[in-house]
């Protein structure tokens, strides 16, 4: 089994290295096919590991080699495949295989085709390190690795100013959060003396609650950055500047869920500090609503889906914060499938529309893009949580968790958000695929994507449909390591009212979205309608003015401060000191070169001066030695030691 573990882990790295060999040369198809094939191998190996874990109920633990061993610190390159990490491995390898194959078609006209696959496979490798590591140090390496690859892929089209800006924004935001994460890891090490999950978690119950609280908070700050929770959320929407396969893989299915994975992985810690958990859940509920509200009015297809991702991450944090770790992981998995599908569908639409992102300029595309239409509709249904698709099982479960634990505010917020989710998802579908063919106004001639791209998407489609039926098996598997709390509403009547009520509410929201946006009178907004000029619309459109707030109150003062430091401190103190030393030496040389004028007489004079100087020094020191006791006495009377 160890062999399969290594294959699953290192196949993406080999693929990345292979593609990197061609990174400077023009498009070579093989640079896309080989990494995809290797990822498929990684997927197969993960499946074998999953089968093994399912069958035996045990886990696989290997220690590849020692990484650091100094004093009491011992950090190995250790990897662990248990029920939680194998779930993540399946999600990561499956979605990335699909995305790789899809990207062969999507990126086929891009000049940097080879470089794209090098980055993308490197990302998968980092993600595998992140989920498979058996200690916090390895987790952190993977954490930084996915951050780096995310930077490289958001800024993939680096000739675009916005893309590089977004890449840097994502990277810097994540650095801020990673500092918190690092402090959390240090706290774990200081207080438990180890970074291995098993030993660290075993030592935690005996620690003071204060320390555990700080640990939990700092680790969660790390998770907030990676999972783009408020107030570090702005980077995720801007990250949509990257190619669409990147958005599907990194910014929907895998990397952004790393924060949830961290909380799930650290469940023994968060079980000890339920007050932090409640904070996480409240923040999650807030973000769910907050992000969904911004998605309501946005006119950028990819940003709408990004906000939806943000909102769903909020759901996951609610579940994780309330101690329903298996529910959070289940929603993570289901969400990865339908959200990646949604993004890939959006990628098809973008290709068809010559990179147009405004859904108001599309309309009626269902006639030309039947396959994409069906897939995106099903993905949206799954996202909205309609029975019997994946979202119904995972999302409704989170609502039930909130309800059963008597957090009615969280429950209400999440229920309302479920309605918003259904509305904005179907607003998007209706605008893109139904109504009048508005794209004709802009002279665009849409076409369906390559056949193999659609075929590549079908595994996701299937899983988005059937993932719910895997719930029983999944529950039996992960609850070996996660707390096995069943969430059932006690009274059957209440349960049915809740479920049917939620379904009706969601269906109502969908119907409203269709009614409003699928009709033929939808026009391209020109900024004159009453709604567009209302305060609420502007507030949402400008993302609650948070990016502007950051720009004006954080970035600008920081820039001014940096300028001031540069001009006042760096130029006038640091540089002046260094320059002063150099100038002093230069001037000394300039002024003393007259000594070397070649005139024998002058040189003789200097020689005599030197001899006299040395002699007088000898005399002074001789006297000092001779009268040392007197001198000491004299100094001691002055109070000098």
């Amino acid at each position: 089994m160890e062999m399969f573990l290594y294959i699953a882990l290192f196949a993406p790295l080999v693929g990345s290295m292979f593609a990197a060999l061609f990174s400077a040369s023009p498009k070579t198809l093989i640079a896309g096919i080989v990494p995809s094939a290797l990822l498929f191998i990684s997927f197969l190996a993960s499946s074998i590991l999953l089968a093994y874990v399912l069958k035996t109920g045990g886990s696989i633990h290997v220690e590849m080699m020692t990484w650091m061993a100094t004093g009491d610190l011992y950090i190995p390159f250790g990897f662990m495949v248990d029920q939680v990490s194998v779930t993540m491995m399946m999600v990561v390898t499956l979605v990335s295989t699909v995305v790789h194959v899809y990207a062969i078609g999507y990126m086929s006209h891009d000049k940097a085709f080879n470089r794209f696959f090098a980055w993308l496979s490197a990302f998968v490798f980092s993600m595998m390190i992140l989920v498979m590591s058996d200690n916090f140090a390895g987790l952190f390496i993977g954490w930084e690795g996915v951050g780096l690859c995310s930077w490289g892929l958001i800024g993939f089209w680096y000739h675009k100013e916005v893309a590089t800006w977004a890449a840097n924004e994502a990277f810097i935001m994540n650095r801020i959060a990673d500092l918190g994460m690092l402090i959390g890891i240090f706290l774990v090490y200081w207080n438990t003396g180890t970074l291995q999950y098993v030993e660290a978690f075993a030592a935690m119950p005996s620690l003071e609650t204060d320390i555990l609280t700080w640990m939990g908070i700092f680790l969660f700050i790390g998770a907030m950055g990676k999972s783009a929770q408020f107030p570090l959320h702005t980077w995720l929407a801007d990250a949509m500047e990257g190619p669409t396969p990147v958005s599907a893989l990194i910014h929907a299915a895998t990397m952004v869920t790393a924060g949830v994975y961290l909380i799930v992985r650290a469940n023994p810690l968060y079980d000890l500090i339920p007050h932090v958990g409640l904070f996480i859940a409240s923040l999650g509920a807030f973000v769910a609503l907050f992000a969904a509200s911004m998605a309501l009015v946005n006119r950028d297809m990819k940003r709408i889906i990004a906000y939806s991702t943000l909102s769903q991450l909020g759901y996951m944090f609610v579940a994780a914060g309330l101690g329903a770790y298996w529910v959070a992981l289940f929603h993570l998995m289901a969400h990865a499938f339908f959200k990646a599908l949604l993004f890939l569908g959006a990628g098809n639409v973008m290709h068809a529309m010559n990179d147009e992102l405004d859904p108001f300029k599309m309309g009626g595309l269902s006639k030309v893009m039947k396959g994409t239409f069906i897939m995106m509709t099903i993905a949206s249904v799954a996202l909205a949580g309609i029975f019997p698709l994946a979202g119904f099982f995972s999302k409704d479960l989170i609502l039930e968790v909130g309800f059963i634990q008597n957090h009615y505010i969280i429950y209400t917020v999440l229920l309302f958000t479920a309605g918003l989710t259904a509305f904005y998802s179907f607003r998007l579908v209706a605008l893109i695929f139904h109504g009048e063919e508005r794209y004709k106004l802009f002279g665009i001639d849409p076409h369906e994507a390559y056949k193999f791209m659609l075929v590549a998407m079908t595994p996701l489609l299937l899983l988005a449909i059937i993932a719910g039926s895997l719930k029983g098996t999944y529950f039996d598997m992960v609850t070996i390591v996660l707390p096995a709390t069943q969430y059932h509403v006690h009274s059957a009547v209440v349960y049915w009212i809740m479920t049917i009520g939620t379904q009706l509410f969601v269906i109502g929201a969908i119907a409203f979205a269709y009614k409003k946006y699928a009709l033929s009178e939808v026009k391209v907004p020109d900024g004159t309608s009453a709604m567009e000029n209302s305060f609420g619309y502007k507030l949402l459109k400008n993302q609650y003015y948070i990016p502007q707030f950051y720009e004006n109150y954080l970035v600008k003062p920081y820039r001014e401060l940096s300028l001031a430091f540069w001009k006042e401190v760096d130029m006038k103190i640091v540089d002046a000191t260094v320059d002063g030393i150099a100038k002093a030496i230069y001037n000394t040389g300039e002024n003393t070169r007259d000594m070397q004028n070649g005139n024998l007489s002058t040189m003789l004079k200097w020689m005599v001066a030197g001899a006299v100087g040395l002699l007088s020094l000898a005399v002074v020191f001789g006297l000092a030695v001779k009268f040392s006791s007197e001198i000491e006495f004299f100094l001691s009377t002055l109070g000098v030691q």
Binding site: M595, Q596, G598, N599, V608
Partner: protein
Amino acid sequence: MEIGLNHYLVLSTILFAIGLVGVMRRKNLLLLFFATEILLNSVNIAFAAISHYYGDLTGQMFAFFVIAIAASEVAVGLGLLIVWHKRHGNIDLDNMSTMRG
């Protein structure tokens, strides 16, 4: 009054000072050689006097060495001086600055 070691040392110091001033002040190469000789001989006097004072012949032997080396030095030096004079027509120190830094 008996002439003792101190008198010799004082004489030696005075001669050394005269020689030092000569080395510093003279511009004529020939006179510079004279000044050097005065320096060396002042040291010779000190050597001889101290040697006699301690009853140890090492100092006097050293003085002989100094005289021998001074003689050969002057021989080489005068040779160079004559060659210089033939070439440049003077032996002024201020003109000897071809090794200016």
